[in-house]
């Protein structure tokens, strides 16, 4: 490959400081990307361990292992850890690693802020997790933090609020960094409409982040002042209204779910063309569909609140606007499918995860459409059907596409090819068990099993047992992932610059492993032309 950078001109940079100081002080986008990804992996297993406790308790009806308050802490902190600790940092980590490589920039635009925004996260999650050891136990009112319940938490309540502030600050800084990098640091010749879709979807995600994270910060601050300083934003006794919290929270919350999924759309839009050996069908349509999904995500929030007693006009508005989202989403699914049409497909692990994403995310979209039917949602609200819905869009949706991304770029990061066989085992076990785990939850929800309960009526026993078995299987299969990554870091067959024959993009124009500094000199015309064939 025509990677033209002269090594000796920069070779004093090529040796980062040794030891822990390197990681504490680094401003290198690849180091910070790695830190984010490792952190995300740790939180994935911490949150996963909590999920195992949940499924263990729900294996049989009756109270078996944990007391109800602890169970509630498990569901609450599992949700917070997975959303803010596993999925969001994974996206920021991938952005750090890949966006500069993909737009031909030498680093992120604001490297010092980049370091800071990462190092806030370990503090935030320490604060959240030591909640388990303070009087009253960890937060147990649900990740949605509804008052008045959340205000009755113990000493961990203010700690959780500060933790959320820190996570919010971290992701806002991450988002600003992404936007500035993309807008100002693109190599000459990389116009907006020549950017890879992962970059595009992240740009839109970053705007969503800076528009809604401050709203979340505001709403949790109001909770804090209601609890400690006698304000009554959400307290009816002082003239406030708890329903208002739900409006403010979901004004953040619905865009947030798209923050979790838009970068996934980007990854899948790069992986499927690579392993179909065809350009992406409808590149521009993908960009516009992403932008319209992001726009629509601001006007649908009350579909989480159909049962609070909205007027008919409100129910109709939020029902119809929610259903509108299915149109751009459908465009995407169509385009991915059309990309594969008559392609010469091969099924390496990234492609397998992307294909599972395509099928299973679509199932989650369908259950979302069912939930969007306001009169039907009166039945489904707060049941396991909702749990099944959001786990389908988040686990085989967001998480599988993160895995697709890691499997896609891992050889670029480590310089080694990984064991395809182990990757396929990881895929098939995950893909089978994730369905055993979550599909029965649709039945449970339709039959009326409420969410967030440690015990249940005996008619729900069978499917809960199936779901728990799927859960244990899924949890255990995930152990293969760090094993595979560790082995790939340590050694393996040497990876070429162009790891996958069908791949396009500037990241494949640099050697594997990507040197500590890349694109000190912008990519040449030829490299851009070769890379940008979408």
């Amino acid at each position: 490959m025509a990677y033209t950078e002269t090594v000796d001109a920069h070779d004093h940079h090529d040796h980062p400081p040794a030891g822990i100081w390197r990681w504490l002080s680094t401003t290198n986008h690849k180091d910070i990307g790695t830190l984010y990804l490792v952190f995300s992996g740790i939180m994935f297993f911490v949150g996963g361990a909590m999920a195992m406790v949940i499924r263990l308790e729900l294996f049989k009806p009756g109270m078996q292992f944990v007391d109800p308050a602890f169970f509630n802490s498990m569901t609450t902190v599992h949700g917070l850890a997975m959303i803010f600790g596993a999925v969001m940092p994974a996206w920021v980590g991938l952005a750090n690693w890949m966006i500069p490589l993909q737009v031909g920039a030498p680093d992120m635009a604001l490297p010092r802020m980049n370091n800071f925004s990462f190092w806030l996260l370990p503090f935030a999650f320490t604060l959240l997790l030591i909640g388990f050891f303070v009087p009253g136990g960890a937060p147990a009112g649900g990740w949605t933090l509804y008052p008045p319940l959340v205000l009755q938490g113990g000493d961990s309540f203010p700690m959780a609020i500060f933790a959320i502030h820190l996570m919010g600050a971290s992701s806002i800084m991450g988002a600003i960094n992404v936007i500035v990098t993309i807008m100002n640091m693109r190599a000459p010749g990389i116009t907006l409409l020549r950017m890879p879709l992962f970059v595009w979807t992240w740009l839109i995600t970053a705007y969503l982040l800076i528009l809604v994270m401050p709203v979340l910060a505001g709403s949790v601050t109001m909770l804090l002042t209601d609890h400690f300083f006698g304000t009554s934003f959400f307290s009816a006794s002082g003239g406030g209204d708890p329903v208002m919290f739900q409006h403010i929270f979901w004004f953040f919350g619905h865009p947030e779910v798209y923050i979790l999924i838009l970068p996934a759309f980007g990854i899948v839009s790069e992986v499927i063309p690579t392993f179909s050996r065809k350009p992406l069908f409808g590149y521009e349509a993908m960009v516009y569909a992403t932008a319209s999904i992001a726009f629509l995500s601001f006007i649908v929030w009350a579909h989480h609140m159909f049962t609070v007693g909205m007027p008919l006009a409100g129910e109709l508005f939020f029902m119809l606007s929610t259903m509108l989202i299915a149109i751009p989403t459908g465009v995407k699914v169509f385009n991915w499918t059309a990309t594969m049409w008559r392609g010469s497909l091969s099924f390496e692990p990234p492609m397998l995860f992307a294909l599972a994403f395509l099928f299973l995310f679509t199932i989650g979209g369908f259950s979302g459409l069912m939930l969007a039917i306001a009169p039907a949602d009166f039945q489904y609200q707060d049941t396991y059907f909702v749990v099944a819905h959001f786990h389908y869009v988040l686990v085989p949706g967001a998480i599988f596409s993160i895995m697709a991304g890691v499997y896609y770029w891992l050889p670029k990061w480590t310089g080694h090819l990984y064991s395809m066989a182990l990757g396929k085992w990881h895929f098939w076990l995950s893909a089978i068990f994730v369905n055993v785990l979550f599909f029965p939850q649709h039945f449970l929800g339709l039959a009326g099993m409420p969410r967030r309960i440690p015990d249940y009526a005996t008619q729900f026993a069978d499917w809960n047992m199936v779901s728990s078995l799927g859960g244990f299987g899924f949890g255990l299969s995930q152990l293969l992932f760090p094993i595979l990554i560790w082995k790939c870091v340590r050694g393996g067959e040497k990876a070429p610059a162009q790891v996958w024959e069908g791949a396009h993009g500037l990241e494949w124009e640099v050697p594997s492993p990507a040197p500590y500094h890349t694109w000190q000199d912008p990519p040449s015309e030829a490299q851009i032309a070769h890379g940008a064939e979408h």
Binding site: L110, V215, S237, D241, H247
Partner: protein, 187 residues
């Protein structure tokens, strides 16, 4: 000025603009509070102002009773987790004719072990009915003092507006009883 300097300046100015956006959205988050109140007032949905203010008795007389229509009013009570009270409706439901004045009763008993003051906060379901449910007198209009262990019957006089939309034939009036010694005074 070299290219690096120029880039740094461009980065700084874009960062500043984005930080402004962040500040703007933070402000917007707080602005949702008054916005929400205004929306509730305009649409009359669950409007606390209407629910907590009295209308004049003569308005009832002006309306006249619609004997052809019957609306069921259900009564409910709830207590927050703080405080220690007994609080229940004296009657579970009433069948009422729009435009006619009725009186319902609630029974409250102070179990807190000391003299105290409590405030009832009304709510009506479905919330869009708030604009058509009028009270001429209500124990919820002002804080109520209770001696230690005292039990009292608390009256509310109300009527349903004749203009109540035809699709509503069942309303729920509920009160939550807040002990003011455990919470900041009501506004």
């Amino acid at each position: 000025m070299n290219a690096g300097e120029e880039l740094r300046r461009a980065n700084r100015s874009l960062t500043a603009k984005l930080l402004l956006c962040v500040a703007g959205s933070a402000l917007f988050g707080f602005a949702l509070v008054p916005l929400y109140r205004v929306l509730c007032e305009i649409t009359g949905i669950g409007d606390q102002q209407t629910l907590r203010s009295a209308v004049q008795v003569r308005e009832v007389a002006q309306q006249g009773t619609d004997m052809t229509r019957t609306v069921t009013v259900e009564f409910m009570t709830s207590l927050p987790t703080v405080g220690n009270w007994q609080f229940r409706p004296a009657q579970e439901t009433m069948a009422v004719h729009p435009g006619k004045l009725y009186e319902a009763h609630f029974i409250a008993r102070n179990l807190t072990g000391h003299d105290t003051v409590a405030q009832a906060i009304p709510n009506i379901a479905p919330s869009q009915a708030a604009s058509w449910f009028h009270k001429t007198e209500c124990f919820c209009f002002s804080p109520q003092s209770f001696k230690k262990g005292e039990e009292r019957v608390l009256p509310v006089r109300f009527f349903v507006d004749r203009a109540l939309p035809g699709n509503l034939d069942r309303l729920t009036l509920s009160y939550t009883f807040y002990d003011l010694s455990t919470h900041v005074a009501a506004r």
